[in-house]
Every structure is written in structure tokens, then in C-alpha cells.
């Protein structure tokens, strides 16, 4: 693992929160992203130092609203949440315990909090007769490319009779039973990370990992009010994608192997924390690892603007989106595609079919426009 440490430099590895882990599955073919993430490099800082700061930001209004809604759902020891679970799962739940796992006697170390979560989950799993319990802020962890990443606790685990449900609280509205598909999909991907982490924990403790339900409870405001409503969301598909992606990341060694020994993404911060590494040097370091840019990266990856610029310089057809690339039958550069179209480049056998279509398109375009 010291190889990955060297790539990152002296800074501590950046922890992956569930959102970051879920985003790993967004572009599995990108070696650059796989290496930077596996090494725990702060991609946002790298992108900023390269002069291509990430276009992401969250409005303070959205943050306030999200926090307020979460507080509302968890109010009074989770009374409202319990009501929702009772209705959704059809369970006779007169009462449920509420344990805030963030409360470990003033010691905020992640390691300690995780052991605390471990201990309580172990006890609940052993003693199946125990009353229903809500575990707020469980601190879970997941192994990512050989590192243990602690997951930011913005979730509740609900236990009844030794079975666990992950409860994800989101503040986007469900209007007349419908929510924005993108947001539901993102929530499902994130919740899948927690499901995986919790079932891994159970397995480590010697319990049956399938005691974690693959149906997560999504709690959202209903219609335009602040009143929460709960829905079950099946995350089996997201789990499968996530498992595959994590397995791939443990094989990141194969990508790292051929890279030069001296390669590092260290920002060379001075004592004041200001990055001092020459930008050109960092740029060539980042370029040592190939990226696979797609316009979707603009929604998920901190390095998106840098990679887009690189794709533009190379004249890559990736720039125009996957649909266009598919339509071009995988022709990689704009120049090549245009040369095939105007006939100035003779196609090899593999490209004969797409070249014929492009030439015809070129002819038709000239004929009618």
C-alpha cells in the first residue's frame, strides 16, 4: 500500500463518504479516477490547483432545509420515524429504543465510535428478542482499495428481531407519489453503500449478512409540506454495481504497476497549507494516468473540467457524449471521424461500415443543406 501513499503524498487519505463511494460507480472505466480515489487523493484540491475548480456547490438554503427536515423526522427520540416505520412495514411497534451512537462520552475518534457501533450491533444481532431499536448516527466503515473508510453518519439503522433496515432521510419532495428520478437513484446508490457496510459488519461479527434488508426505507417530505412519508426502495441492483466496483478497486494495483515510481499527486503544501507544487508538474503527473472523460462526469467528478479540457485538446469524440460516440461506432477522434466522412482517410476493415455511413451522411448533408 505504500505505493498508493506515495501517490498521495504526505497528506492523510481523504475519507470517502457514502456520496463519494456511490459516485465511484458512475464511470467505472476511468483509470485516473480509480487511482486517485484508491490513493485517497483530494481531487477537489488537485483540480483547484490545476486551475479547473470543480463546479459543485451546495446552497445554504438547501443545507438548512435538509438539516431541518432531518431534525423533524428524528424529533422526540425518533417518534415520528417510528410511526412511519410502523405503517410502512406493517409492524406492531408500540415502542422502540433510540440510541444515538454519536454519543460516546466526548471522544470523537472515528475508530472509537466505530467500535461502539460494532458492539451495539453485535449485541442486537445476538439477542434477537430485544425490542426494536433505532440506531442514529451509526459509524460504519468499508474497505476501499485496502483502506478502511469511515462513512459519514447521516443515516439511521433500524433493528427489529435481529433484522436491520437502513433508513435514509432526504429532503427532496415526493409529489403525488412521484419524485425526481435522478434524486431517487442517487439516494438508492448512497443507501446501498450503507447496506453493504452494515452487512459486512455483521459478517465480520459472525452473523448472517443477509439480516440487513436490501430494501431501504427512504423518508422524504410528502407533497409540498414538511410532513415526512416513507417508501421502501429495493437497492439490489445498486449493491451489485457497488460490489463490482469495489472489487475492481482492489485490483487498482494493476493500473498503478506500470506507472513511474516517482509519480506523485502531492500538492507540495507549505507550512501554511498553501499548495506550492508547480502547476505544470502536477499537470503532467495527473496526465500519466489516462482518464475516460464523458459529459456525465460534469455531474459527479471534481476533475471534470480538467479532463474535458484534455479531451478537447485531443479532439476526442468523448466530448460530444456517449450517444454521439456510439453513433460513430467508437471512432475516437473528431479529426478521424471527419476524415472518414469526407473520404480523405481510407478506412480499415473494422471501420468500413461506419465510414460508409459517415460518407453517406456527409453527402446527404451537402446535398440538402
Amino acid at each position: 500500500m505504500d505505493r498508493l501513499d506515495r501517490l498521495r503524498g504526505p497528506e492523510p487519505p481523504r475519507p470517502h463518504d457514502a456520496r463519494a463511494i456511490a459516485a465511484l460507480a458512475a464511470n467505472p472505466g476511468c483509470a485516473r479516477r480509480a487511482v486517485l480515489d484508491a490513493a485517497g487523493v483530494d481531487k477537489d484540491a488537485v483540480a483547484t490547483h490545476l486551475g479547473f475548480p470543480a463546479p459543485f456547490g451546495r446552497s445554504p438554503f438547501a443545507i438548512t432545509r435538509g438539516d431541518a427536515f432531518e431534525a423533524l423526522v428524528k424529533e422526540g427520540g425518533g417518534a415520528e420515524l417510528l410511526r412511519l416505520l410502523r405503517e410502512l412495514l406493517g409492524l406492531p411497534l408500540p415502542l422502540a429504543g433510540y440510541t444515538d451512537l454519536a454519543d460516546v462520552g466526548g471522544n470523537p475518534s472515528a475508530h472509537l465510535r466505530h467500535s461502539h457501533t460494532r458492539r451495539l450491533i453485535d449485541r442486537a444481532a445476538r439477542d434477537a428478542g430485544e425490542a426494536a431499536t433505532l440506531y442514529d448516527h451509526p459509524l460504519l466503515r468499508l474497505e476501499i482499495a485496502g483502506y478502511h473508510s469511515y462513512l459519514e453518519p447521516d443515516v439511521v439503522a433500524f433493528q427489529l428481531g435481529g433484522r436491520f433496515h437502513i433508513v435514509e432521510i432526504k429532503s427532496f419532495a415526493v409529489v403525488d407519489g412521484q419524485a425526481e428520478p435522478d434524486k431517487v437513484a442517487a439516494a438508492a446508490r448512497q443507501a446501498a453503500v450503507y447496506v453493504l457496510a452494515l452487512s459486512t459488519l455483521l459478517a465480520e461479527l459472525g452473523h448472517d449478512p443477509s439480516r440487513v434488508s436490501h430494501e431501504i426505507v427512504l423518508v422524504c417530505p410528502e407533497n409540498f409540506a414538511n410532513r415526512p412519508a416513507a417508501t421502501l426502495v429495493d437497492v439490489r441492483r445498486e449493491l451489485a454495481v457497488l460490489r463490482r466496483q469495489l472489487a475492481r478497486m482492489t485490483r487498482v494495483g494493476a493500473i498503478v504497476e506500470p506507472l513511474p515510481d516517482t509519480l506523485t499527486f502531492d500538492l507540495g503544501r507549505d507550512d501554511g497549507g498553501v499548495p506550492r507544487r508547480p502547476v505544470a508538474e502536477l499537470r503532467s503527473a495527473v496526465r500519466e494516468v489516462g482518464a475516460r472523460y464523458a459529459p456525465d462526469c460534469l455531474n459527479t467528478c471534481d476533475l471534470c473540467f480538467f479532463c474535458r479540457e484534455e479531451a478537447a485538446e485531443a479532439g476526442a469524440t468523448d466530448l460530444l457524449g456517449r450517444q454521439v460516440r456510439d453513433e460513430l461506432g467508437g471512432v475516437a477522434t473528431v479529426a478521424e471521424a471527419l476524415a472518414l466522412a469526407d473520404g480523405s482517410l481510407a478506412p480499415d476493415d473494422d471501420r468500413a461500415e461506419i465510414a460508409r455511413l459517415l460518407r453517406l451522411a456527409d453527402r446527404l448533408y451537402a446535398e440538402v443543406s
Partner: protein, 489 residues
Amino acid sequence: MSTLSALARLRALREGRAQRLATVRHCHLSDRPMVLIPLRLAGEAAAPLAAMAGTDPDHPRLLVVPQPRDRDLRFAFTAELAEVVLPYVEGLQKATETVERRGAEPYERCVDAPQLLVPNPAGVTFVQLLGRSTRFRRAEGPYAVHPSVPVLGRWLTFFGRRAQYPGSVLLAAATDLLSLHWATGQSALEDANLASLLGWIDPPPGMSGASAAREAEDPLVWPPAGPATDPGFDAEVLAPAIRAYQEAPGERAAAAVAAAVRSQLEPTWRLMWRAVDLLRALPPGGGAAARWEGDRTAFTAFAAQLAEGAPPQPRRDGAVAAAARLARMERARAVYDAQRAFDDPLVMAGHRLAGEAFTGTVVAAEPDRTEGEGRGRKLRPLLVVRTGDPVRLAAGARLATPARRGQRADVVDVAGGEVTLKIVKGMGRGTTATPGAVPQVGEVVCYAALTDEYQPPAALPAPEETPWTHGGPPPEYVPAEDDAEEDWS
């Protein structure tokens, strides 16, 4: 996405400027459209923050909610929006024309209809949500609102639902209309940014489309076209202004919020009218007017329903209504695709590349060929067309041709670059072809497996006979009493 539009994007990238995807305008553009740019408070489903609206490019109306979390201020905003939208909509109901129909009673149709233009598809969604959150309100009882609010809600719901209808432009997103006519050198995802899309289509003098589009991505130069606002603006400008209003509500504090949102809306307002001008400069295609007639009919019918005191649109369609609507939308999609191809050789070229249409020269024709005997003898002219297009049509496929719109032909055979066709409709009565109806040898013709023919509506059971597979007959829709009191927090 066809190979043709992919090639157009490649060319746009090479030229540094958007390339035409159409030779004519495929959407009706009103002489007096209403531009509406809504802004939403971040993190909320449909909490309006502000809107800029109007029909006069030089006199936009700015509506602001100085504290978007205040329910009363929100309803004041919707009442104010109603003051802008309703006179526009109602003014167009006055002039009508009588439409004669064969075998049916003539009916009245408005000679013009409203057209709401929003910047992007997210704006259309916001209009739908705003309609949903206001149409059930009441002017009396608890939580009473201004009487115009539920009326606005019903209209916005009508516009929002109609926007899902292929080819309808009563409510349309500027980015959609522009993307229909131009291909840029960026991805479809980036085209959803109005400023960047217009950068490609109409870059400032001395600037390439690519650099104009990049510049347009800077929220400080071109604020987002809504409904979402720039998080940086929210944190640095809007939040302090709203806080100041919260602490000391009054005209000055409200004016400060208004000035802040105006700075975000004005650039988009100018972009919207530039988009209108660019679209207006294109010559209109024939189908656009026909589809606008459909829009006018829908508008007239809804205005009548509203006048008769129909209840607000239900939260969700019943099974039969949903199936009927889906079937109508599918037919509209087929007609829309066919009409655009018939109006525009560039659109037809996309179908030709896909093998669903072809252009070629007639090499043999039997205009007076007949089939059958005696009284059953029918005129069925044969045509052989030589083409270089990659035809992918099976024998028996039903074709139409832009040059002779009523004509229909069936594919008999496709072999060695020659297509044999049998004309089955639109060639004349009796056993002799009408002169000119059958193409002659040497004529260049185009045939396509597309149809804009009238298709009868799908046969569906009455709502009260909904089968159990679809939940059985739905309960009769009665607007619930508490709908009007629904929270909006």
C-alpha cells in the same frame, strides 16, 4: 440521435459554430409569446423565489418573494403571477373562428393561443409543480387565497401537461426548441445550459462558439437560467438579503432582495428574446402550423371547461384516462416525426441514413397496371426506383412521399439498389391513373416509412368499466375538502 446529427456535432466542433439540423422551423412561434423565467429557492420542491415574465422584451415584470419560506408571501407571489398570466391567456379567448367539419357539427376555435416560453426543461417541470401546488386552493374558508390563484394553478397544470405532448408548443423550453434546429460542438447535457447553447449558435463577433460556450458556464458572467440558482449567489448575496428582510421587513429590505434576483434574471431574459429572434428568422415549416391548430383546439377546449366550472385536474389520472392520453401522445409523436421529415429534407436525410426512407430516380413505371378481375379490378401502378441509400425496408412496408402527400405505396421488393413499389392510394380513381399522380421515369422521388395520417383513437373501456387488472373502476373524482388546505411549507 442519428449519424447525421452526430456528424453535424463533429462539424460544429471543427467550425467552432453550431450547425443547422433543420432547413425550416419546426415549431410555431407566436407573434406575442410570453417569456417566463421562474426561480426556485434551493432545496425546496416548488417554493418560488422570483420570476421574470412578460410579452414585451423591453418591459419585463419582476415578481419577488422576499422571504420564500413565508406561505403568505408565496401566495401573494402566485396572485401577482396570475395578474400577469391570466390577462394574456384570457385575452386570446375572445377572437374565434368557425371550423367546418365533414360529417360533424362545426365548432368554434380561438384564432390564436398563448405561448409560454421558459428557458429549459427544468422550467417546464417547475411550471407543472407550481400548477400542482396552487390548483386545489380555495378563495374562501381556512387558508383562503386570492380567487385568481386556483385559476392560475389550473392553467399552469394545463400548460404543463400539454408540454409533454409531442409537437405542442403552448409551453416550451427554449433549449429544446433551439436544439431541434441546431447541433452544437458539445454534449446534449451541456446544451441544457441556455447561455452556452446560444454561445454556439450565435457567438459574439470575433469569438468562436466554443469559447462563447465556455464563458457562458461561468455563473458570475451568465447566471444559471433557473429554476435553480447559483449556490455561490445564494450564499453570498441572496442569504444576507433575505436575512435582512427577515429582521426588518419593509420596502427597503424587499427592494434589496428584488435587486439581487434581478441581477440573476436579467441576463437570461435577454437570452430568451435572442432565442426567439433566432427561431423567428427561420422560415416556418408547413407542419408547424397544422400542429399549432391542434394546440389552439386544446386551448379552446380547456378554456370552455374552465368556464363551465370543471373541478381542478385530479392529482393522478385514472387507468383509462392515462391509457388514452398515452395513446394520443404516441400518435402525436408519429405525426410529429412524419411531418418534420416531409417538411424538411435535412430531417428526411436522417431517416434515409437509418434506412427508413430513400431518395432515388424512377427507372421503370407501369402507371396503368391493374390487379384483380371484373368488378374487383383495381389500379395498382408499379414503380422501380434506383437509389444509393442504404434501404432497410421489408416487403409490405407502407410508405408515403413528401411530393404527393395523399399517396401511399407498399414495398414489393428491395434488391441491388432498386426498390419496387406498388402505389395503393392517391393515384386516381377507376383504372387509369390521374395524370401526374404516378411519377414518371427519370423523376427523382423520395419515399419514407412515416405517416401523418389520421389514426382513430385507441379503443378503451369507459372509466366505470376499468378491468380489475387496472384496479377496477376508480372512485368518482371529487376534489377533497382538505386539498385546498394542503400545507405549502
